[in-house]
Symmetry: C2
Subunit: 382 residues, 2 copies
Amino acid sequence: MKVAVLGYGVVGVGVYEMLGRAEGLEQGPVLVRPGKADAPFKVTSIEEIVSDPTVGAVAEVMGGVEPAFTYAAAALQAGKHFVTSNKALVAARGIELKALAEEHGAAFLFSAACGGGVPFLHNLSLARESDRIRSLGGILNGTTNYMLDAMQRLDMDYAQALADAQRLGYAEADPTADVSGLDALRKIMLACAVAYDRLPTEGLLNEGIENMTAADAAHMKSRGYTCRLLARGGLNGDGSVYAFVEPVLFREGVPECSVLENYNMAKYEGACSGSIVLMGQGAGRWPTASAVLRDLNSVLLGHRAMLRPACCRVAADNGALEQLYYVRLPARFAERFAAESAEPDGDTVRLVTKPLSPAAMHELAGEIRAQGGELFFAAIGG
Amino acid sequence: MKVAVLGYGVVGVGVYEMLGRAEGLEQGPVLVRPGKADAPFKVTSIEEIVSDPTVGAVAEVMGGVEPAFTYAAAALQAGKHFVTSNKALVAARGIELKALAEEHGAAFLFSAACGGGVPFLHNLSLARESDRIRSLGGILNGTTNYMLDAMQRLDMDYAQALADAQRLGYAEADPTADVSGLDALRKIMLACAVAYDRLPTEGLLNEGIENMTAADAAHMKSRGYTCRLLARGGLNGDGSVYAFVEPVLFREGVPECSVLENYNMAKYEGACSGSIVLMGQGAGRWPTASAVLRDLNSVLLGHRAMLRPACCRVAADNGALEQLYYVRLPARFAERFAAESAEPDGDTVRLVTKPLSPAAMHELAGEIRAQGGELFFAAIGG
């Protein structure tokens, strides 16, 4: 199968090179936007690709919703299989792309969009066919994991950890999507769509790591906790879907604590399989390219869809699940929380709340911040 | 697709029940040996299954090489897809079954034979299509992991840990295949066959955990090490395959240390993907049944083979790789090793060897034991 590649950046070069070595797959044209780097078999319009009868599949690794969506739609309408690493695209327009793929008998797979090299969505997609997925999630953003690890294991402060991540190419010049949890949120949206036939697009919550200080890191460490940024999704008792991102504290010895540097960890809990954990490189040229190639090999085997016909947009309900939270905030706001325990430290207090839903916790945090209160919080997990 | 089930024990009941709930799959006849428990749609001869034109696939969960091989061959010859959880069968007769499957256009998949619920072989099979697998392995025996964890974390001695594992149903009345490493060895043989088209059947090494004492566990712990029974396979520089099982010591913080109780962890190192780690329940009714069902869903998608046409039997070469070993032995045998360091303790000495191949280490251990020397050893890993 000849594969056209859309985008020839970090991942595109990897996909193109791997295609040259893969059995059953062949290097096709590479779409490069005018003014961008040169590429072998370079074309500059999507029409040249969709009108080429020798192209069987299109691999998109450009990123961004547009023009990626327009290109994807054109490829699927021409009956080309479509594989992508673009989480923003699938989170925003996955339902439309799924419908186009069905209509034209083409495959639409996007393993590389969640977890990079970690084969999470592929396995989730297969597992859900015969098992009931109780919950899912994990450490799905390598940039923030690198920073959290540096702050906790190497005692860096936030600014140092961010600068270090940028120097190593793990963080963008504008790191907002990573540090705010938005990137991880998009990934958990995709995982919910695969597991539950529902893509949550409203009522979502994301608390990132921007509010964590070196003092927070040291205090959590002194209490035996390791903090990770976790994306979580699952089914509430009434069948609605929850989906949110927030820092979570773990006791040493659980797999989450052994996820160091920019590694990712994804997890699902099947009613039959039990807990299945997958770890690996969540980003980078070769890991992400290897995930794109795995999807293309899946297409060769006959795999067509990660999103089933019934999949639709829904609002998430993050008000049902309850958990304890660790909160650091100005002492004057402490009374806003029903606390299990509280530890004053000058004008600041560190407390552990009584059980609280993510919806309630994130809302309270928003209110306190709106009133000028600086606050860090993390759920108490594992 | 209607699926016949061979065997109605712990796993068979799970497979049969899951078939009743899975989309695209249907419960077929269950083969139960005369005198064995009753089952729905019970038949007592394989002929009834292979001559039934409504049966599309056969799932074998009986265990043992015979009559499983005879039944498998009959099913494949009748063009039925064949899925199994039986590692002894695939290790002994996988090459013949692969040839029969090809000849008759049927699928032959065996994910459940290695890692139970952990989707290791499926992912390895997909990854190797586009990536080069540098090495593979992991904690593939839940019984011994349970025992090692109990000895190190709960300070049990070997006999207590074994009794506990038996009481919980993790260990058989005769635990030899588990504690000797043979069970894990069979699993790594299958993984090598999937990744490298070569099923190693000679030159294999397995050192189990039978020689580990409470004093060994305490000493390793005092040095900051956690011991796990690891199965490992990979390619030597000359292209030959290595495959062996032995205890390995890890420093805290690596994923191996977070594999507790009877959990399994499998790992492969792809040239492009990097290290991919998978963890989950390695045995038990529902995890193993869920792996059988995943394979059946893969068959529906079009997945036909985990062993490629070129796959053949080879001898392993465990003489090339070199590593340090931790050895506890009677002081009178200490001079047999070139040691980095040695710590005498009465008539016993605990030493760390200079680099040594698994072939050399296992051979020396055999010689010393033949001369009446009690010895425990573990490679120093991660």
